[in-house]
Point group: C2
Chain length 300, copies 2
């Protein structure tokens, strides 16, 4: 089943304790859609400038990602993010952000895209996320990501969003910020009480937690010894999760838990190199192989 | 099979964001032995002062813990630790330590204790841990805990200890300190290469990781919404793990993984109240019930 994603498309410059990369392919919607494409056709909506390398669009198209919703804003540059990871590889500093094409981004979805049943609102302005929701009135699973910036700057819009989506995906510090509760188990349920039917808290190297009315669970991250660049891990997690749900065409509890696991494994590949470099080298079979290991790891 | 533990016996004063307790029963060997007693008979070695409340000894004895190795140091006070937890309940500040009876503690083990097959050297001076090892020459499973203080102050003794034990249990920041490697998967194996056959890294609210030559795995913490006081969680984890191994009488890979899970669940009860207050209210059946939930949580 086609999966629609709206979010950022970026050129990232990244510094880790041992390596740097300049202007590599990134952005929440890119990591999400590339990962989801292992499972299902993807429809990507975003904006880039006229400096956007055509090869990036071709790469996405080669993966069964429909880029018909990728707008090129004339006279603008592509969104740029510059970040630095500290020695622990978990603490990240944003060194610079240039919104560029994203600043003028007003999503107008192609007619066909609006009929998508599975929708992911990747990290971005809550106001824009609401405008996308307005256009996708027939979606059966509407999931959003958010971040501290929007929690602080658009609380009223976020409250509305939470009432209109089926699920929210956010990280641990964001869940604490949104609820004021330091205990993640309580925080997860408090977010759920704001509207979504289920909530996923991403814990980076520690895995992810799931909250619905009747279920609370934690799945650990896959223990990879090779963490080169954590950028995009959260978006890949969401892409793996949503991609699997769209492939299965349902979001029953059993499917949701499997989807969480696929998200975790997709993210474990993403961090093993910069940009999409590791993901580009794997096939669905590699995900399935790691899934077997992961199931074995959690069996006793 | 009887399980020997040597470690601290303390009176703790604890401040959390919402509550405080003064001079409550604590210490690594106390948390360890009380937890292990759900599984197997325990032999406790430690030192207290003459201010030690007799009721604490009686409580331990009531649980099939042999306190024949608990020395009362005349003229000394019991070891005291005073700590404070910040709002996130994970960051802990030691406000004060009085070694008292522990300063003069030279473990001389009762003859019967020396023949214990399962031995746990709870957190304490590495020098003392080595002296215990010298006395327990027939142990088949020798496991130690350590902390940043000993990693920094007794590196030569710790290197010797690591060559003489079967396993080391330590927390994530200690594993990073000991190896200089920020990646926990690599750090765990690097600790293992220093001598122990297996290594367990405790990650607090994020669970625990296991490392042997052929296995690497992570198990998440049990998600409890009620974290009142994390003191003793790591010692309870070790007590549950070692208690189960001693009960089973082996440390095959399958038993080890089950033991890790029991350790995680025991710790999840410990944090639900101050001191041993939560553990005192549970029975083995409560551990088994939570184990069923935990297995279900990790199945998909």
């Amino acid at each position: 089943m086609p999966l629609l994603v709206v979010g950022s498309v970026a050129l990232d410059s990244i510094e880790t304790p041992t390596q740097t990369r300049e202007n590599v392919l990134g952005g929440s919607a890119v990591y999400f859609s590339y990962t989801a494409s292992y499972f299902t056709p993807v429809r990507l909506v975003g904006a880039v400038g006229d400096d956007w390398p055509r090869e990036h669009t071709e790469l996405l198209r080669s993966r069964n990602i429909d880029t018909g919703g990728l707008h090129v804003v004339r006279g603008a540059r592509t969104f740029r993010w510059r970040g630095k990871y500290l020695a622990d590889m978990n603490t990240r500093e944003t060194v610079g952000v240039e919104l560029n094409a994203m600043a003028q981004f007003e999503p107008v979805l192609p007619e066909e895209f609006r009929r998508s049943k599975f929708l992911f609102l990747a990290n971005g302005s809550t106001e824009i996320q609401l405008k996308v929701l307005d256009q996708c009135t027939g979606a059966t699973l509407r999931v959003a990501d958010t971040m501290d910036l929007w929690i602080r700057s658009q609380p009223a819009e976020l409250a509305e969003l939470l009432r209109r989506i089926d699920a929210l995906v956010l990280n641990d510090s964001e869940a604490r910020l949104l609820t004021g509760d330091p205990n993640l188990v309580r925080a997860g349920h408090k977010v759920r009480e704001l509207g979504p039917r289920f909530v996923v808290i991403k814990k980076g190297e520690h895995g992810a937690m799931f909250f619905s009315k009747h279920e609370t669970y934690v799945l650990p991250a896959y223990p990879t010894p090779r963490v080169v660049d954590p950028t995009g891990a959260g978006d890949s997690f969401a892409g793996g999760m949503m991609g699997y749900l769209a492939e299965q065409g349902n979001f029953e509890p059993k499917t949701l838990k499997e989807a969480m696991a696929y998200g975790i494994l997709a993210a474990s590949f993403t961090v093993e190199d910069f940009s999409l470099d590791r993901l580009r080298k794997i096939e669905r079979a590699d995900l399935e192989h790691r899934m077997e290991e992961y199931r074995r790891m959690l069996s006793f």
